[in-house]
Symmetry: C2
Subunit: 274 residues, 2 copies
């Protein structure tokens, strides 16, 4: 594995490569990332992982400077997974003085996560577009956990006629159901117990849908009995189709149920694809 820290080298290495798989990350790699990387190494001749904690997708009051950084462990993980190039640029490599900005679509980019974190998706799309055009992969791997991000990226790829195939990867969970997230390290033991209610609520909704329930209102009420409790600050429960248009009635194979909560100062999101 070669570690590359600048634009010129990554361009040189990938100049004539046609079968590249790409996994962009912000580091603090966990089993969720590993599942993406393994899928990429299985499906492509050359695999590039990027680690870049992207400042433009953090709001002013967010945890950019405190975001978990575990570089040594990340490098080891990439090596063990058979990554060919680990791209770790610094901020000045990725951003100049007069950057052309991306603005997420007015509607889909500013509801749900985009409503709570206005501007977050603009910065996320900006770095993803930069990285996709720099690495020029055949396949790029993103997790379903950030479902709205995934939807916006697929939309951007279509809008700008990029040839990359966006591969949607399943959410990886702990044995007890907690969706893996780099931010889980912020949770105390008791907070972690509380957090289990998130996946629990989603599973109960899925089970009810399995028995024929299709009213989003009824499902939300059931989920609220699990999530409206002391210690959990529920931000939203939402029902959307694959294009992130909000829906009232479950449509099988075209519904995502989303939850966002604060537990203490830690923000957690999870979802289930129906």
């Amino acid at each position: 594995m070669e570690i590359i820290d600048n634009i010129k080298d990554i361009r040189d290495r990938l100049n004539s490569s046609v079968d590249v798989g790409f996994v962009p990350t912000m580091g603090a790699l966990h089993q969720g990332h590993i599942s993406l990387i393994k899928k990429a190494t299985n499906e492509n001749k050359i695999v590039v992982v990027s680690i870049f904690v992207n400042p433009t997708q953090f709001l002013e009051n967010e945890d950019f400077s405190e975001y978990p950084r575990t570089i040594k462990s990340d490098i080891k993980i990439c090596e063990l997974c058979g990554v060919d190039y680990l791209f770790m640029p610094n901020i000045n490599d990725m951003y100049g003085k007069n950057e052309t900005l991306i603005k997420a679509p007015n509607k889909n980019g500013y509801i749900l996560e985009g409503f709570r974190r206005p501007g977050h998706f603009d910065g996320m799309l900006q770095i993803v577009l930069k990285l996709l055009l720099l690495v020029n992969p055949k396949n790029a791997y993103f997790g379903k956990k950030d479902a709205q991000q995934l939807s916006l990226i697929k939309n951007m790829v279509k809008n700008f006629y990029l040839k990359v195939h966006i591969v949607e990867c399943d959410i990886i969970r702990e044995d007890d159901g907690l969706a893996l997230s780099s931010r889980n390290v912020y949770l105390s033991s008791s907070q972690r117990d509380l957090a289990l209610n998130i996946s629990r609520s989603l599973k109960i909704a899925a089970k009810l849908i399995g028995t024929g329930e299709s009213s989003c209102q009824v499902l939300e009420q059931k989920m609220r009995t699990i999530l409206d409790i002391d210690g959990i600050d529920l931000e939203y429960i939402a029902f959307v189709d694959r294009n992130f248009t909000q829906i009232d009635t479950i449509e099988l194979k075209n519904t995502i149920i989303l939850v966002a909560v604060y537990i203490g100062t830690t923000r957690l999101i999870d979802n289930i694809w129906i």
Copy 2:
């Protein structure tokens, strides 16, 4: 020459082409465009011209619906110039419901033209990025007349690591000095006479610089004696370097002098590269 009116066909035709020259236009082709197209046919195996009056770069009060459209003449011109593909998409081909937007850099995108036409450059960059990624040319041709546009496009190409070479093409003028523009057709005969003062003022500035004058303030005063007259509504005289940073002192080979005026309801811009 083949006329193509949809995304699928243009992608199919250019799929494996490596030596493509591209001239994006809004139609109403004049000698300025013809000089770009001829340069492109001289320098590339395959030449694509696009004609698309892009709605997102017109402000609400601007002349989108009245913008000159001379399709028959445009097609003839492209044929005579040896264009291979004339791409004329309709609006629904280029824009869907949830478009990812481009925002010009906060500083350079919102001064001068960007200050008078806020949002104009966002829409211009959006369609140029779309077209560049769709056509994937080796060379793309833009006129120096829209100097700030050219600067922002070059900056965007750098920001997103596009491999296209942006070819800067000289301003084409009538024999009496008037810079060619699709909007010149709006001018009455007497307005056209007044408009000659624009290029006159730029030439006088260039002449003074040739004799050693380097103070932008002095040069602006001289230019104002020509442009501050009845019938001309002077918007700005500006002195910038090639990156569109405003300057006080002329630097040879790194200065652009810009003028924007209204004559009646017609907005005209011109510039000279020192």
